[in-house]
């Protein structure tokens, strides 16, 4: 079977799997987020935590709960990394230095999983499993809790109560993330992924003599890395490593895992607001962007005429020959359009436009389908901006799902669309202005005699785009483990994660206080192809245009001839 056919089949299988999951998973998540019943385990947990599960919170309290668990998460993870040499199964790894520990803690708590280290040389099993993996579970669940609150903003009226964070978090963890992870970890193990608490495994008689291989709880961490759109691998090679992602089949499973929650959440949304069409509208916009981006980058990877000419016209440098180009671009597109950031190929080695597509995917705000929860709230904010402009054009005060978009709502939506570009552009500009920090750019990516090159700039732009959008994938090459990059990166990740959450929750609070506006013939139909088209246009124009000047100095300058 040719590479192309294998790729097409994989895409077809993936789309089929996602389509089949859409309804049951979406409905199940809606059930988790709305049911009044608590399971026995949950009741015990609430008692232990001292939480009254029936007490709904205001948006401010909800936000403080999010901040509290995140702050505790950062502190715990930081401490764990600093003392890991005292822990069991440390495999002789020394303690992680302060700024890297800080960067890593911020990275995993913010669902970014930017890694300025390689796991197999830095972390023991306990730090991996009780530190990183725990945050992978929690940060992914926090995203879903926050979007649940925003949806409640639409469904609830004349109230300031938006749900209970601890209940939402517990339910998502216990009823969704844990069972899914267990099932799929077993599947991955069955397909050849490793899972072991033993010390390094020694493989004898290789060409270079004996090799000592790191194993760890790879399969179990792999699942939540993808399902929770985290992306931080056990191994530096991430999903290109055969222990994490052994076969084409596991590759398909992994892509499915990183997309499935994001693509099913619109169903949850539709179910909760009582109109499945609203969900279909959003999911179709997500799907169009995803498919469009996939076609775009696959085309440029297979019609390559840059320096990486390797196999015919295909850019195979940095790609696993086990997967080939289509399965690599499929993974790349999916990982950058969600906030995952796991990689099965090296984005740095992509053709200029292929790598540019990866960046642009993230720049759109990771909304197609985006991270767990964060993707949906991202596209909902853009829908609100679209509703506002479109609503004016039909001659009414804009309204979305029966809620008016007034100055207050617009303020939070505007702050949201302002925040991430601000973080990305300010940090990138800052890095480029600082002579010492541009030194982190890989010299191999610079022009002759270390002269500036578009690709060199792309490394920096990619890095902050990835961190600001909580993606976590890297453009390779950049030496990020320096004092400045660790600190700036951690700040970018925290701003990029928590500022938008403030705006989303405040928006939810403001929406929930309103009384609903009845729908009439004069109301803008937000479940229609026309609206979907306009939403797509707004995403490309309002968000995409912001980055055009910066992109012109990177991928565009590199790729245009």
């Amino acid at each position: 079977m040719s590479d192309t056919w294998a790729g097409l089949l994989q895409v077809a299988a993936l789309v089929l799997l996602l389509a089949v999951s859409y309804r049951p998973l979406g409905d199940y998540m809606a059930h988790i987020l709305t049911t009044k019943k608590h399971s026995r385990v949950e009741k015990v947990l609430y008692k232990t935590m001292g939480v009254d599960p029936e007490a709904d919170q205001t948006w401010g309290t909800y936000l403080r709960s999010v901040f509290a668990i995140s702050a505790v998460g950062v502190l715990l993870l930081y401490t764990l990394l600093r003392v890991q040499h005292h822990l069991m199964m440390a495999l002789g790894m020394p303690k992680v230095n302060a700024d890297l520990a800080y960067n890593t803690a911020a990275s995993f708590v913010t669902n970014t999983n930017w890694q300025n280290y390689s796991g197999e040389n830095t972390l023991g099993y306990v730090a991996q499993a009780t530190g990183l993996a725990v945050q992978n579970f929690v940060s992914a669940s926090v995203g879903i809790a926050v979007v649940a609150t925003l949806i409640r903003g639409f469904t609830r009226n004349r109230t300031d109560r938006l749900g209970n964070f601890w209940v939402d978090l517990t339910r998502v963890l216990i009823r969704l993330m844990l069972p899914f992870s267990i099932v799929f970890a077993v599947i991955l193990v069955a397909c050849g992924s490793v899972q072991s608490l033993g010390d390094h495994m020694t493989v004898v008689h290789t060409i270079n003599g004996d090799q000592s291989l790191y194993t760890g709880g790879t399969a179990s961490q792999e699942v939540i890395k993808l399902l929770g759109t985290n992306g931080g691998g056990i191994f530096n090679a991430n999903s290109a490593h055969p222990f994490e992602n052994p076969t084409a089949f596991t590759n398909l499973i992994e892509i499915y895992l990183l997309l499935v929650i994001g693509f099913s959440l619109p169903r949850t949304f539709g179910k909760m607001v009582g109109s499945h069409k609203q969900g279909y509208t959003l999911v179709s916009v997500m799907a169009i962007i995803w498919v469009g981006s996939l076609i775009f980058s696959t085309f440029f990877e297979t019609h390559h005429h840059g320096i990486n000419l390797a196999d015919g016209h295909a850019a195979l440098e940095g790609k696993e020959s086990r997967f080939g180009i289509p399965a690599s671009t499929l993974f790349m597109t999916s990982t950058t359009l969600t906030s995952t950031g796991a990689v099965n190929s090296w984005h740095d080695s992509y053709s200029p436009f292929g790598g540019g597509a990866a960046m642009f995917n993230m720049m759109l705000g990771e909304i197609a389908p985006g991270g767990t929860g964060s993707g949906l709230y991202g596209i909902l904010i853009l829908a609100i901006v679209t509703v506002f402009i479109a609503g004016l054009m039909v001659g009414r005060t804009p309204e979305y799902l029966g809620k008016k978009i007034r100055p207050t709502e617009m303020k939070y939506a505007a702050l949201y669309i302002l925040t991430t570009p601000a973080v990305v552009l300010i940090f990138t500009g800052l890095a480029m202005a600082l002579k010492g920090e541009t030194a982190s750019i890989s010299s191999g990516n610079l022009g002759p005699n270390g002269s500036p090159s578009p690709h060199g700039f792309s490394e920096v732009l990619y890095a902050f785009t990835s961190m600001g959008n909580n993606n976590g994938s890297a453009f390779g090459g950049l030496s990020g483990n320096t004092h400045w990059w660790n600190t700036a990166g951690a700040l970018a990740m925290m701003f990029g994660r928590f500022l938008p959450m403030i705006w989303v929750l405040a928006l939810a609070g403001s929406l929930a206080k309103q009384k609903p506006v009845p729908e009439t013939e004069g109301t803008l139909k937000t479940a229609s192809p026309l609206f979907a088209g306009m939403l797509l246009g707004t995403i490309l124009l309002v968000v995409g245009l912001t980055y055009f000047p910066a992109l012109s100095l990177g991928p565009l300058a590199e790729g245009l001839h």
Binding site: F388, V394, G395, P421, T428, A433, V517, E521, S528, L560
Partner: protein
Amino acid sequence: MSSNTLTEAAPAPRAPQQKPGGEPHRVGGGFLDPKMLWKSLPDALKKLDPRVMMKNPVMFVVEVGSALTTYEAITKPSVFAWVITVWLWLTVVFANLAEAVAEGRGKAQAATLRKAKTTTVARKLASWSPGNSGAESEVAGTELTLGDFVVVEAGQVIPGDGDVVEGVASVDESAITGESAPVIRESGGDRSAVTGGTKVLSDRIVVKITSKPGETFIDRMINLVEGANRQKTPNELALNVLLASLTIVFLLAVVTLQPMATWAGAAQSLVVMVSLLVALIPTTIGALLSAIGIAGMDRLVQRNVLAMSGRAVEAAGDINTLLLDKTGTITLGNRQASEFVPVAGVDKDALADAAQLSSLSDETPEGRSIVVLAKTAYGLRERHEGELAGAEFVPFTAQTRMSGVNLADGHEVRKGAGSAVMKWVRDNGGHPTEEVGSLVDAISGAGGTPLVVAEKAPGQPARTLGVIHLKDVVKEGIRERFAELRQMGIKTVMITGDNPLTAKAIAEEAGVDDFLAEATPEDKMALIKKEQEGGKLVAMTGDGTNDAPALAQADVGVAMNTGTSAAKEAGNMVDLDSNPTKLIEIVEIGKQLLITRGSLTTFSIANDVAKYFAIIPAMFSVVYPGLHVLNIMGLHSAKSAITSAIIFNALIIIGLIPLALRGVQYKPSSASALLRRNLLIYGAGGLVLPFVGIKLIDLVVQFIPGLR
């Protein structure tokens, strides 16, 4: 409004009255007189004051940019720097000009109003109670306060707003309404309100002053048309937030671009950076936003409607439910004869003849309509009273409830309410058949009013001839108008004092969605509250004092100028023409205002694409020649490209001022149809137009030495 008052100094002639249900109509506004641009220039320049500009974040950024490039042009002079500087300043001036022109039209109207506000001497009464007037003293009109009583006689100007408490007078209100025909104002009832500045033409009235000095109706009108305390409306505020955030995003994109460009060895001059910024931020809508708002209010003023706040105008666009009074809005003021229904054995012509005879002296509109029907439908020549020498006309009285005529030959004809006429027939020896009763019931059931006609020939018993069907005449085209409203998602509710049966018939004929029969003010209030409970916005008109609570409760309450001051106080709009149909136009103006804002915002954002294709290759194709591919317009040089983009950006503002003042075309239709249309024109148009415009400008600009 006639041309001698409010619009006297305004260049815009008043738009002709819309016929209800006319062809696709445009909520027109004034036109832009090029002279207005020139006249408003001093005002536009005054607005360059940064403290004023601060209120408009988008244009403030442009002004700061202009100042920066001016500095650059002075310190490092070049043709390019100066051309850009000049056009950037022009961009700011054009924006101010748009606002100044819009305000200028209001100012002209205000000047005319001020003339009506000449100081008057008031004849104040020390006290007043019915039939008892205190001592009279002369004070300045401006010194009157709430609760004062003043006497006004023929030829005198009423010194302040108030209600007539004694007497009746004809008043010339042309100073406010523009209507030169005098109106009657009398104590009690719904016609008691008088407005300061209007003139009493006859008789003497005592007025109780209801306004504080400086807060009279005219004062408020002047403030309104001048936009003195114009506050931003909710949608305008929300749009401002969006525009400000886009401005900040692009400001960041441009500021952070410099270090990136510097690293690449393509550091840009300040002039180029400012140009990029100005090209990207939404200057088009930023420049026109306040002009659109002012012009929206102005369009209402041109229709003789005074909105007390811009908020009310915006709310009008959001209306879900319209409460419309039946009489005058849905039906013509009076009932008209539509048919003569004879009883068995009576010829139609005989009935028509008798009906006409009995109505000859009946000067009520109903009576005249009977004569007209007899003539048009039955070819009966109109007879004159003089023809029937010796005829004695029996006028209608509340006791007899019928009218008629006794001819010289002893022939008698009567028409009137069924029971009254049948009693007359019986009293005169006749025996009305059962048939009459069923005819009467049929007409009542169809929503009409039956008038029974009977005659008595000399020496014979009286007999009934038949029934005249009087019915409410639904205004021509109103049905189509309601269908349009329904398409717009607006529900219409007819309010009437008729009984439910009659109301239902008229409601069906007119095509309203619902009706409220035998409506009392309390019923209206309850209906409004019920609708609002479900989140709907309600608009209504009213004139009486008992309408005041409902007017205040409604989201848009339009008080008739003929109404009481309590009603005018309660509503948030006053219709000087006192035309209840106006409500529909008000809704359309409200919608048009929002559509204009939305469309120009879309246009403004879509414009950015072409500007990128002009400016980005101009900036960076020196270091990265590949970027020259982006110069798809084939612009002459880097400098001409940037100059062309900036000139286009400035000229489009001037080009769109007429559209901003007039409002985009609005045809009542469903939300989807409106969106599709506006998206096509202003979205797709906004994408394409600048490509063409910039290219055309470049074709000229490239010949300027220094820009090659």
